[in-house]
């Protein structure tokens, strides 16, 4: 191993690090470490002056390795790698020690925290000495885009991309476009008709020459990497026979939407047993047919709407489905205008009216004499058939929170505001395009705040309710954001791919083929002539599984080599 000149920079992060970690002591400690040429501390290493300091030191002092002890590498590794690149140093000659998220923010004893920071810095210093210069490759970016899902999100994204002049492959599982939005009548809070929102888009999509709409179809395979995905789609033709088609795309937008909660899972509500208990989607159907009625055809005199069916509960989904409150208020308006004398009660946990115009809509709904009854999470109302002699069909018992009374309210029709949940086949899609799901099954974004439509897989974007419950404006915003992100990349023509991937040393590979089946991306191919395995670097996503499993030590996980990790182990065990 050649000797090197390492620069160590200790970030104070204002006081975030400095208040718990003795940065001066850390500098003094770093200076004692092997091959460290200089060590410094600064208020904010990620600031421009901080980065400039690194650049200047590299150029003036000939540093060839850099360690920054600061926040999480997930936050600023890219920032500092860029600084190295600016200074003319290979960006991979860099390592971060996470002394903020993993140290100053989680410990309360300055002595112990400083000691731990020293260990982490030592680990980084020993590791960086073994870093190798890695070269990034650039690959072509196919301008075509695959959009999975033909709901409002998919339609919107497809149109934006097609309008910019690129080809879109729109895959829809159903026989028609529109998705869940096509199932509803009016939208809250401005009472626009869903039909109006959709029709124009569907028409433009079907008429567009650049959008290839595939109905009754599904993506069955997706291979490759950003800029170079090969998609296989199973399309059913008019006879219902499946036929496979393959095409290249550069990017993928997943807009597969949601499914509604199965209301019969909550026995309290008698859904499926009581004829006049309906889900919000069944109610939407009544609204679209223009007649709100009971199972026997009579007009209801008392309509009750129950919120959070499947949402915000421990047993089902802990999250809020975000659209049901406003939809419920919309029902109150629609019921009152269709049946003026009808009494509407709205049985809720909390009224979430966070969006534009929502609070005003809520106020207006109370003015049409909606009776709002509050129940407690986990203490659900119970619906039962009314007693003979009652003038209503059902009675709902509620432990009403605002009055503290246990009450019974008459109802002729009960509408269950079923929440949104991740589609039951979401995991198949996740697996297909290699993105993650959270514990509720929603697709996970790259960063919940700063990068909400990208995913951890380059070139795969998520839009709309497949990522989490959201309303139409948010869904459309995400769809257009995904489209914009893709168009920006397509405009640059080529794309740089990460230099971190696995590599087989063919001189050491015995062709045992243990690694072959381990790669989830089939990035390892076996050369039957030379009897060696080989990693297709562009397809490799650098998980390192093959490197760990290779019994001969023939596979190197670049940037996570055994030698680097051993050095770090030795380093942190100060």
């Amino acid at each position: 191993m050649q000797s090197c000149k390492i620069g160590v920079y200790i970030c104070q992060c204002g006081t975030n690090i400095a208040k718990m970690v003795d940065c001066e002591a850390l500098v003094a400690f770093a200076e004692t470490l092997p091959e460290v040429a200089l060590a410094k501390t600064y208020k904010y290493m990620c600031s421009n002056p901080g980065q400039d300091m690194i650049v200047q030191d590299i150029q003036a002092n000939g540093l060839d390795r850099v360690v920054v002890a600061a926040c999480s590498p997930r936050m600023h590794e890219r920032t500092f790698r860029n600084a190295l690149q600016v200074a003319g140093l290979n960006p991979y000659f860099f390592e971060m020690a996470n002394i903020r998220e993993h140290c100053s923010w989680v410990h309360d004893d300055p002595v112990a925290a400083t000691q731990k920071a020293k260990a982490l810095v030592r680990g980084a210093v020993l590791r960086v000495a073994r870093h190798e210069a890695l070269e990034r490759k650039t690959v072509d970016m196919c301008p075509e885009v695959l959009v999975i899902g033909g709901g409002i999100a998919g339609l919107t994204a497809a149109l934006d991309i097609a309008d910019a002049g690129h080809r879109v492959h729109l895959v829809e599982r159903q026989g028609s476009l529109g998705g869940n939005l096509a199932r509803i009548d009016l939208t809250a809070p401005f009472l626009n008709a869903a039909r109006d929102l959709l029709t124009e888009r569907i028409t433009r999509v079907t008429e567009s020459e650049r959008i290839d709409v595939m109905l009754h179809s599904r993506v069955v395979n997706l291979d490759g990497f950003i800029g170079n995905y090969r998609a296989t789609v199973e399309v059913r033709d008019a006879d219902g026979l499946p036929r496979k088609t393959e095409f290249l795309v550069g990017n993928v937008i997943v807009a597969t939407g949601y499914q509604e909660f199965e209301a019969s899972r909550i026995t309290h509500y008698g859904y499926g047993k009581l004829p006049n208990v309906v889900t919000s989607f069944e109610f939407e159907l009544m609204l679209r047919h223009g007649r709100i009625q009971m199972a026997d055809g009579h007009l209801p005199r008392f309509v009750s709407i129950i919120h959070c069916v499947g949402s915000r509960s421990q047993e089902f989904h802990g999250y809020c489905s975000r659209v049901c409150c406003m939809t419920a208020l919309k029902y109150a308006h629609e019921v009152r205008s269709a049946i003026p004398g009808c009494h509407v009660s709205d049985i809720y946990i909390d009224m979430h009216a966070f969006g534009k115009g929502h609070e005003d809509f809520y106020r207006r709904s109370s003015e049409v004499k909606t009776l709002f009854l509050m129940y407690r999470k986990g203490d659900r109302p119970v619906i039962r058939r009314a007693d003979p002699g009652d003038t209503c069909d059902m009675l709902i018992e509620v432990n009403e929170q605002l009055s503290g009374e246990t009450i019974e309210i008459p109802a002729d029709l009960v509408v269950l505001m079923v929440g949104m949940e991740a589609r039951s086949d979401a995991h198949e899609v996740a697996r297909l395009v290699n993105i993650s799901q959270d514990k509720e099954g929603w697709f996970i974004e790259s960063h919940p705040k700063l990068d909400p439509v990208a995913t951890t897989t380059d070139g795969v974007y998520i839009a709309g309710t497949c990522a989490a419950p959201k309303d139409i404006p948010d869904t459309v915003a995400q769809a257009r954001a995904s489209a914009a992100r893709i168009l920006a990349k397509v405009a640059r023509g080529r794309i740089e791919v990460d230099a971190v991937y696995a590599e087989v040393d063919e001189a050491r590979c015995s062709g045992c083929r243990i690694c072959n089946d381990l790669c989830p991306y089939s990035a390892i191919e076996f050369d039957a002539v030379k009897k060696v395995s080989r990693v297709i670097s562009a397809v490799c996503k650098a998980c390192g599984a093959c490197g760990a499993a290779c019994p001969s030590g023939a596979i190197k996980a670049r940037h996570f080599t055994d030698a680097q990790i051993f050095a770090q182990i030795e380093g942190v065990l100060l």
């Binding site: 260990a119 381990l518 390192g544 760990a548 182990i569 942190v572």
Partner: protein, 144 residues
């Protein structure tokens, strides 16, 4: 001064390392005994790393990955899941106390869980005292 275990934590980048970051951003306090080494996936964690850390003087080794089914690389954590019991059998044969090496699934949203795991592990190792592997090997020539 009481014994402070030195634990090496191997955390996958996408779930557990992010979960540990979340513990930080949420200011969830936990003992400073785990020193985290980031790998891209728990499947990268070669059992050699665990043995290396023990031989190098670690009092414990924590391996964390995404929950089964949630791996960023589809199924990398299943590889960790399969290797771990075999590694444990070997460590048993070496006579290592069970609590010193641990595999946990920590998702990106489980900052609290990560802190709990670290606290629990630290408290379980503390009564075991320092791991005798490294001092033992260092003394072997003298005590042969």
């Amino acid at each position: 001064m009481s014994f402070e275990p030195r634990i090496v934590g191997f955390l996958c980048n996408w779930c557990s390392y992010t979960g540990a970051d979340l513990a930080g951003t949420s200011r969830i306090h936990y003992p400073p005994n785990v020193h985290i080494i980031r790998v891209m996936c728990s499947a990268r964690i070669d059992p050699t790393f665990v043995l290396k850390a023990l031989a190098q003087g670690a009092d414990g080794v924590l391996v964390c990955g995404c929950h089964p089914g949630d791996c960023h690389y589809t199924d990398g954590n299943y590889k960790a899941m399969r290797r771990f019991p075999l590694l444990k059998r070997v460590l048993d044969a070496y006579g290592l106390e069970k609590d010193r090496v641990r595999l946990e699934w920590v998702s990106a949203s489980e900052g609290q869980r990560f802190a709990d795991v670290v606290s629990d592990m630290t408290e379980r190792i503390r009564p075991l005292g320092p791991c005798r592997i490294r001092p033992g090997l260092q003394a072997d020539m003298a005590e042969r």
